[in-house]
Symmetry: C2
């Protein structure tokens, strides 16, 4: 037993995560795709196409998205020296500051929370979150191929 309680709590946790993220969006004026894009750019400059794939937006939508972020001074465009068709989108310092402001505190609080667990316990927690993450990714793969026209009709 306990699996039902664990599942329910995870659902509640994910819901809270979504609510938190939504709040960040309201306070920053950035929508879900904007935030996803910024989070990706925090790992380094990316081309528009790579952003489109990861954020799951059309290339034209990414043009508008980057315009938006650039208007806020959060990113800048830079020609790719290797291939002048490409445009590299680069996160600015303000983007990192924004991340620190909104996600820094929770990251630190999370680390702090984990100090209440022994090393052995943390090993188990890591095993669990890895299992959960792997499971979620497996379910993504199972959902992908189908591409059913409309499950809702």
């Amino acid at each position: 037993m306990l699996t039902a309680a664990i599942g329910a709590t995870i659902a509640e946790w994910q819901d809270a995560t979504e609510t938190f993220d939504d709040l960040v969006g309201r306070q920053t004026g950035l929508n879900s795709a904007d935030r996803r894009c910024l989070s990706m750019l925090a790992r380094g400059p990316q081309t528009a196409l790579a952003i489109a794939r990861e954020v799951r937006l059309s290339p034209s939508a990414v043009t508008a998205l980057v315009d938006r972020l650039a208007a806020h001074g959060l990113v800048s465009r830079k020609a790719d020296p290797k291939d002048r068709r490409r445009v590299l989108v680069v996160a600015q310092a303000s983007a990192f500051a924004l991340f620190e402001r909104f996600y820094g505190p929770i990251a630190r609080a999370g680390a702090e929370m984990l100090t209440a667990y022994s090393i052995e316990e943390r090993k188990l927690i890591l095993r669990f979150v890895r299992d959960a993450c792997a499971l979620q990714k497996r379910m993504i793969e199972e959902l992908k191929p189908t591409d059913s026209p409309a499950a809702v009709e």
Copy 2:
């Protein structure tokens, strides 16, 4: 140690969860708010205002949202016998079927995954996810009051 690895894995897990959810949206033709609303209605009929609060949409947007779901046959409107100003939105059988179809498999796989853990281990996992959930909710509260006009300018 291990906290960094745990944090990184959780971030990866949340990302996968978002991707999964987005895929469900594409395959069902339901956007994020639609899905949130349905998920709420799975717990019982709700008034438009309650939906607006939970889904974080304006009341007028909820009218449109419910129209959309109703057009898909997923919900129906029902006058509240107690207060005729109110409209109760009720999930239809097709909504539950949709949930079962997309979230049933992962719920069962998750339960199955947990069978690899002993009861003692599950207790620890439950403690951990409760801690994480509580932390996330605490961070929501800390973010709420500020209501800063624009953190981005």
